[in-house]
């Protein structure tokens, strides 16, 4: 899935808004009528539902500093997780340093969502021999899998497959095409 920068910002703002709404309306948002003009009422369970009042239901000032940090962190994490392709140097399966933060975000997400499955697809560039590239693609996918497991994901959430040089992302025989084809793609199901 590819989003434009603008769409991403809108999506993020929307998700922040939702989270903020949640934090002010508590667990009975669906009962209370989010943003509606109702007075606080006592319910059987004793919990209180706050209506919109003067502040229109959404109030950032009602968030604690801690909550705001949490929201910001989640936003950042989500932005990181937009990246699902990781690149490798020729004939190596070492995860590049710049990929680590993003993979950590994926690992955290998988750890928080044990039902989520992901397919790790390993690929190589067209150079060298096909069968060796098939094994190399698998080793790349395994390297990513190990990184995710070490950082909290469970092995059962993941499945790896190598396509070797059979499914290039970019056609052509240039350094740039090769660099884009040596990769592992995370495919969330």
């Amino acid at each position: 899935m590819k989003l434009s920068a603008q769409a991403k910002v809108i999506a993020l703002l929307f998700s922040v808004g939702l989270v903020a709404g949640c934090s002010t309306t508590g667990e009975n948002m669906e009962d209370g009528g989010y943003g509606s003009d109702v007075e606080p009422i006592d319910q059987d369970g004793g919990s209180t539902v706050y209506g919109g009042g003067d502040q229109g239901g959404i109030s950032s000032s009602s968030m604690t500093e801690e909550e705001r940090m949490e929201i910001q962190k989640q936003t950042e994490q989500q932005a990181l997780r937009e990246v699902t392709t990781f690149y490798f140097d020729f004939d190596t399966s070492e995860i590049k340093p710049e990929a680590r933060d993003v993979l950590m975000a994926h690992a955290r997400y998988l750890s928080n969502n044990p039902g989520q499955k992901v397919r790790l697809e390993g690929h190589g560039d067209e150079r060298g021999s096909k069968e060796y590239n098939l094994a190399l693609g698998e080793r790349r996918a395994n390297a990513v899998q190990r990184f995710l497991v070490v950082n909290g994901a469970s092995r059962g959430q993941m499945e790896t497959v190598s396509y070797g040089e059979e499914k290039p992302a970019v056609m052509g025989s240039s350094e740039s095409a090769w660099a884009q084809n040596r990769r592992v793609e995370l495919v969330f199901e």
């Binding site: 004939d91 021999s129 060796y132 098939l134 698998e138 790896t160 396509y163």
Partner: protein, 437 residues
Amino acid sequence: MKQKMSFSLMRATFAAVALMFTAVTSAQAELLIRITEGADSAIPVSVVPFAENGSMPAGDKLSSIVQADLAMSGEFRPLPPEKMLSLPSKRSDVYFRDWRMLGQRYVLVGELTRNGDRVQARYELFDVNREERILGETAAAPASNIRSLAHHVSDKVYEAITGVPGAFSTKLAYVTLQRANGKALYRLQVSDIDGKRAGIRLESKEPILSPAWSPDGKKLAYVSFETGKPAIFIHQLSSGERTKVADFPGLNSAPTWSADGQSLLMTLSKDGNAEIYQMNLQSRKVTKLTNHWAIDTEAAWDSSGKGIFFTSDRSGGPQIYYMEEPGAEPRRLTFGSRYNARPRPDSTGKYVYYVHQRDRAFTIARTNLESGDETVLTRTESDESPSVSPNGRMLIYATKQNGESILTVISADGGAAYSLPASEGDVRDPAWGPIVR
């Protein structure tokens, strides 16, 4: 019991699928042939157009197919018929002085006789200098099969002159790939070695690779991704029946046959990383032959059937290794470059061929197993999948031309060449079939 039943069920399903595919016999992307260069040392030979008794089928003449075969090998330089001073069809009409004058070493003459739905060829090969007949034979084939009869004649002529059996009657297996609107179509095909008479054996939207001929030429083993991951299949060519023999978690790849056809070498990663296994095809039991954290793959038996060549990156990058016997401590064979992979030994036991990186180019090289000397054979740059002809005289491999993958055939010493581009799209993963007697 239960497992057995599901196996045979599975087999039945695959057979049905394969039959559907084999029904499509017309090749969509056929191979073209281009002779790119001949060797300087090519032997001058004249293939005189055969005399004809009775009506012959339309299409290429037998003698022109023989002439093309000999030229294609790179070892012969046939004289164009228009330069011949006479067109004899039997010994009494052969004037050796004329052929000597034309610089010819050998002359092939003959005649074809139509006999019902069959054609009989009677032919003789003469050594011009010694003024001797060195071959005389009759052979017959259905009239619809002139091409097979011609390749048979080429094989006999080649053997009479070089002392080595010809490989013109053998087959090639390869995979074509066409892309349209972002969709890929892979086709496993089998053709003559000049690319003619191509037939589709399997069609898939997912990759097909690594076809390998059984020693009797009746079956192909290959890797297909049709189930979403690589699995090894065995495909009976006459019936189209297919059997999935290896579908373990992880890699199932690089199948090659033992000389007796009873087992396959293959690469599996079910125990964590790519290792070489031998599968007994009767029991389907696998035995692990390598055990190393590095990648071990692309195994092939040597000509004696005792030792195994394979690729391993245990030294840091891929190199060719050899095990004296299955499971023995591997010995590294290649040192001249940081990348050597996919070994294919020839039938003589003298050479092993492989993908070899030279500077930035990926070429095909061979190592003389007696002297250890390495020779780079190709001048192209993205070469892979070398496969040696069963007589050890020619080599086919895949390379790139104008952004498309093509097949190229060279003589085993790197001299002459012809290429087999597909009329459309890519052609790759060639496998040279055995001589079938």
